[in-house]
Symmetry: C2
Subunit: 559 residues, 2 copies
């Protein structure tokens, strides 16, 4: 490809609201452009990288025995209702209505559609096991698109689904996929940490996320430096240490706390610390109010809480709902006198003389003790793990890192196949439900991930495996006939050798071309400059910045 | 690939409402499955063919100097409003609303989005010409999905867009695309006829459709056997012959025609022929009533009529609208006394003593003459050309064929770039509007087309260029160790030689395997049977049905 014809509009600057390094670089180097929030175009360079990533994914999926197909984007509403996930994923589902009023969801994931396909076309155990995959555009109505390709509303995903006779079969393919994923990320030049995770709305009983540890990540990962246990904060298992306050119960008292809505405001007002406060959070679980209690300095693990109470939807209550459920306004809720189901974090057991909201305007209670709470309390682990919590395996204190999720594998088991009645006749003639797994990779997110972690001050540094071109061939001065002639000769030679080469034949200053080459990040640079007359060129490595003068005759061999 | 693991569920029978041969075969042979009306899954075999077609398209596009990219499916409503096509294409646009109420259309075509990309990233004539393309899933709310992959609501299209400084540039790329298209279809084994066509809602001033002539086609194509002129019925140019009735005008009369709504019923009732009848069709053009008059035995060319009157939308009037516009019910409209704009087909000039509706219940008028019509009449060509009409070029009578549209190229000129203000600074420093072309190929429809025309009573016959596998290797009797061993050996040899081979190792009767091989339609069949002991196999050609016994050692070379 000649750079003079390439559609790769580079930019000196990008909008100030672009935060991540990788996002900035992909915009500046002309790989992507935003059409709307979380909706991107892949320009020719971006598309080339995407296709190389896809090919790595495809090769490993094929090697792992998976078969590629392509499922539709338009999913009839009925099938999402049948699986029961229409309600659970309503939040992110994008819908469209056809001219007859039929509702279709834009596929955010394809468990329903593929299970429907398989249940209609598989009759016998002889046709199992079966693993199918596709590389396809998905749609999710993300509340907060961010980081360029990191979190988008339209993105390219590889999604695989396995169908087996029994758990042993599922375990086998799950392990095979786990291994394939590690190979894929390694080939893309990414150092990935597999972590235990939550199934979320996808469901399933065992699941691993493949995390790139980077400050640009959206997830908190807790890692045990001793035993190596690594888990997403939302699922990380730790040793609960309950309060063991020894002080005697004091007398409960009502105090006026005008305009003190937040934990900090209450602490300031009462001159105390957050750990003496008990946060009472009111949620609507499938439309009914419930209370969750955690220490004033802890965060509720909403996902865990939702699963614990068995709710399809869980939303923070509105001020009106809080008033109706507690009798008081937002910021003044507490467990004393509360008539709705109460769930308390295990850590709170044994806590003495704490402070809670008073379920009335500008009112808190001090010296509250559990005997003051007359409703039944369900004790459970409700809070997130944080750095310093003790690893459940070995007791060592966790360290906390940020992680970007690039892959996710799930043992779905029967969570989809059961509601969809995906059955087969087993060897003994009995009807059995097929057991499933699903396996996703964020293909477009991989671009963002590599650009985020593989760069320097001058631009992106693509690994050879996924670079848009293997080599960029730069003629320093295109008005110099000797240079141009040697450049054209090398361009022809490299093309003839089947090498993907970007030929910078533009009538720009050499400095501009060098800057663009660094920005775009092709791993090898060949510069035809002043030594052209001696049939010599400069051979540069984008990563190491090493440079050497070699004979032009050696170029093809070296590349 | 081993057939025993392949997900290719074949069917003996398909639903009775499946009409087209190709559709039946793609279902029966396990290439596709329907999820909803006009929404299909591509199973592994179908996906393989699709990818081979895509690669042919990609190679020719690249060779023609086009650059591949990938644009989003979610199109902000604003950009469709800006181009003015939101109203014109409303009919087929599928919309979705995000959580903030923003409306997005699911891309049915990408002129707006790519022009937006180019206008924001191109400044100078130095960056032109530019041709960009993508291979992507499109969405259209088709009123009548049909023929399996022929007309779907979700389909794969290659769409290219060219941006040039001037008309000479556009003409050059248009010719290059025309030539590339012919090569693409030829490589897919399709005999294509380019025909002049209408731009339709896409717009543009010159456009050619690439038609496969087949009875399964949806379009009528008129072909001049003398000069070779070929055009879609909607645009075909012919010599208008106006009526030259010589009889004297008779006295207009009102006749009761109870329950005679249709042309046929009126003819039967009045004992006359359709050509004596004048059909008065009432339409709503952008919401206002208009009348179109054609001979009783002619069809109105709605597309031509819409363009003629400059309407964005044109719909048949409802019974209520007809009553309001004419004073009479459906089936009894006529031009006499009509107060809405009247357009009459040129052919009707000179017609005498004709029959029209009376704009009243159960009433027609006989012996109507043009002097009875007091409103102003606009004369124009309103009817479709049909077989027998005279070619405008050479006067020869047309023949009529059915055609399936597989590709379409348009000179858009400024129809999109002007409303979107896609400008560039020309060499003299002045601002100019970029001139555009667009070029589409129905990638998924090509599968349907090939299956429709390349088959026999036993199944599909894929051309080698796009077959899912190059060869199917069949072990006639897998319980015979000699046969199985030779099969495995050949399978390994073929794979090692880089040949895409489907190895039928299933424990089925030989007859089942032969039938499936014919149905699936892989061009070459190698059968390991009774001669395995002598190291001999049967080498069969799916197309010619020729078969010969060759040494197993020759197989790789022959394939």
């Amino acid at each position: 490809m000649r750079f003079s014809s390439l559609f790769a509009p580079t930019l000196r600057e990008v909008s100030a609201d672009v935060e991540l390094t990788g996002h900035k670089l992909l915009l500046r180097a002309g790989y992507i452009r935003q059409l709307a929030a979380g909706v991107y175009s892949f320009l020719p360079l971006g598309w080339r990288v995407l296709r190389r990533v896809e090919q790595i994914v495809r090769d490993e999926m094929d090697a792992a025995g998976a078969q590629e197909l392509l499922l539709p984007t338009l999913h009839p509403q009925e099938i999402w209702a049948e699986s029961g996930r229409e309600a659970r994923m309503q939040d992110v589902l994008l819908a469209t209505k056809d001219r007859k009023g039929g509702i279709f969801y834009l596929g955010p994931t394809h468990e329903e559609v593929i299970t429907d396909l398989v249940r209609k076309n598989i009759k016998s155990y002889r046709e199992l096991p079966l693993t199918l995959y596709q590389i396809q555009t998905k749609f999710r109505d993300e509340p907060r698109p961010r980081g360029g390709l990191v979190r988008t509303r339209e993105f390219i995903m590889k999604d695989a689904y396995s169908f087996d006779r029994d758990e042993a079969g599922l375990n086998k393919v799950y392990e095979r996929m786990h291994a394939a994923y590690l190979k894929i990320f390694q080939q893309c030049g990414l150092d990935i940490t597999p972590v235990a995770a939550s199934g979320g709305a996808i469901g399933g009983k065992e699941t691993v996320e493949f995390m790139l540890l980077t400050d640009a990540g959206e997830d908190s990962i807790l890692i045990c430096p001793e035993c190596g246990y690594a888990a997403n904060q939302e699922i990380a298992d730790f040793k609960t240490v309950s309060n063991t306050d020894t002080e005697a119960s004091a007398a409960i008292a009502t105090v006026a706390t005008p305009d003190a809505h937040t934990v900090q405001q209450v602490c300031d007002f009462l001159n105390t610390k957050a750990e003496k406060l008990l946060k009472t959070l009111i949620y609507m679980a499938d439309g009914k109010p419930v209370a969750a209690l955690v220490h004033g300095d802890r965060e509720l693990n909403e996902g865990r809480f939702r699963v614990l109470i068995g709710a399809n939807t869980l939303e923070m209550a509105t001020p009106e709902q809080i008033l109706a459920a507690t009798g008081g306004p937002v910021g003044f809720s507490g467990p004393v006198g509360l008539k709705i189901p109460i769930y308390a974090d295990e850590e709170l057991r044994g806590m003495k003389n704490f402070i809670t909201g008073g379920n009335a305007v500008n009112t808190h209670l001090t010296n509250v003790n559990w005997e003051n709470v007359t409703s039944e309390i369900t004790w459970a682990r409700l809070r997130f793990a944080t750095a310093g919590d003790s690893c459940a395996c070995c007791g060592t204190g966790f360290t906390e890192r940020r992680g970007m999720e690039l892959g996710h594998i799930f043992k779905l088991a029967y969570s989809i196949s059961e509601p969809l009645h995906a059955i087969f006749a087993d060897e003994d003639g009995s009807d059995k439900t097929v057991i499933m797994g699903c396996y996703g990779i964020g293909v477009s997110r991989i671009l963002a991930a590599v650009a985020e972690v593989s760069n320097d001050v001058n631009g992106i540094i693509w690994p050879k495996s996924i670079a848009p071109y293997q080599v960029v061939l730069i003629v320093a001065n295109t008005t110099n006939e000797e240079q141009l002639a040697l450049g054209e000769k090398l361009y022809a030679q490299l093309q003839a050798a089947g090498i993907d080469v970007l030929f910078d034949d533009r009538a720009e200053r050499a400095g501009v071309k060098f800057k663009d080459a660094d920005l775009i990040g092709i791993p090898t640079q060949v510069v035809v400059g002043k030594l052209a007359g001696e049939n010599q060129v400069e051979f540069r490595d984008r990563t190491t910045k090493s440079s050497e003068v070699i004979s032009a005759d050696e170029v093809v061999g070296r590349v």
